[in-house]
């Protein structure tokens, strides 16, 4: 609370609930407010920076996915136009060449889209993993 004096005479009291239970002078309160304001400003700046970073990360992921979707869509359109671009005999040859290719011979190191490539891994020697228990889904299942 603050005692108000006018020309040396006590004229009343002012109560500050913010500092209730504490012994704080006006100058200390001012200093505290200034420090709090500075700290709040630092916290806001840091929070803003984090929010911007998270937003940027999220939008960059979406952008990549969007680009990949567009690429696949373009590819699909081109595939659909194949009939109009190539004469039938060329298409037949292309189809035959495609079928000759062994699908398993596709390079495992090649990245398709955003997915990492499929790479088989052999178990370390001596690894023995038992299969899980398997049950019928319902009592009357065969």
């Amino acid at each position: 609370m603050i005692y108000l004096f006018l020309e040396g005479e006590l004229v009343g009291e002012a109560y500050c609930t913010e500092f209730m239970g504490r012994r704080v002078s006006v100058w200390e309160a001012d200093a505290e407010r200034r420090t709090d304001a500075a700290q709040a400003s630092v916290a806001t700046a840091e929070s803003l920076e984090n929010r911007q970073r998270i937003q940027q990360e999220a939008s960059s992921g979406r952008k990549l996915l969007s680009l990949e979707t567009k690429r696949l869509e373009r590819k699909r359109h081109l595939d659909q136009q194949r009939d109009e671009i190539h004469p039938s005999h060329v298409q037949a040859t292309l189809q035959a060449l495609k079928e000759q290719q062994n699908p398993s011979a596709s390079s495992p190191g090649k990245t398709i889209g955003l997915l990492p490539p499929a790479v088989p891994e052999d178990d370390p020697p001596g690894t023995e993993i038992a299969p899980l228990l398997v049950r019928k889904l319902r009592r009357d299942d065969d």
């Binding site: 996915l65 038992a130 398997v134």
Partner: protein
Amino acid sequence: MTEPLSSSPRPLFVLHQKFFETAFERRFQGFLRQAWKERSWHVIAAVPGSGKSLGIADLLLQSGAYKDATTGTTRLPILAIRAPKNAAREQALGMALSAAFGVVPSMPWAQRRTWLVQILASTGVECIIIDDAQDLNPLHLALLKELTDNLAAPPYERHVGLCLVAAHSDNVIPFKETFARPDVLWKQFRRRMATENPYCVVPGHTEEEVRRISITFEDLYRSQLPDLQLHRWTKTIFTWLINPILDPDATGRVTMDHLSRLVTTSLRRAYEHGATDIDAATLQAVAELMILRRDEITQIDRSLDGAEVG
């Protein structure tokens, strides 16, 4: 390993619909069993597609429920129902509970409330499991409290466990906020929740757990794909299935639904191409379909037998 078999046409690919006792199911069912044994109340959450409903159905089969044909006595230690959808009234939950006992007798709602308590007691219900509990509303929860309170009071004096099994996302646990509200009903509900682990999340599968599931798939489909070595692709499959598109909450775990879809679709494709094992291209194509092209729209301008339509 992927060479076609003989030129004679192969029979159609047979999909095996089985329940795998996976690590997730052991964790999930283990918790349900504990709630059943201790008659405690819990909210159990897992991401959609984890296998919660299958786990509940399997637990029900193992619960020892029976109906004696001679005496007509029914024993139903676990009462499992699915939360009513788009039905805000408490009667909807009452009817779902009634239906779990078989034929639903016709009676006024006020009478059914009493009948439900009687039949819960007479069939020896020890634990109530509600699947899709995220669809329950305050009226449903109030009815659950009323029924279980009446069951716990004389003359029945039977305490039952309650498991609200819910699908969750964004790392938000269903009911946690609701039960923390100051209203009397929620305070009472909260008091009934277990002291230990009132809210639980059951995570999906780790890479090692996926390996074991792959080995089980190999055994299951060995007759159709004799050289199947699915477990060699475990690391790749795990990496694909924790892609942010399939795992938006970044749990770093794999759900059984995604794993089954990837594996069975790949196996079917490999089988239809005459292969005896799975290969990188088939797996990658299916993964791409599931992850990158899952929203693609297919135009069906042919009938299934390949003939032009129209």
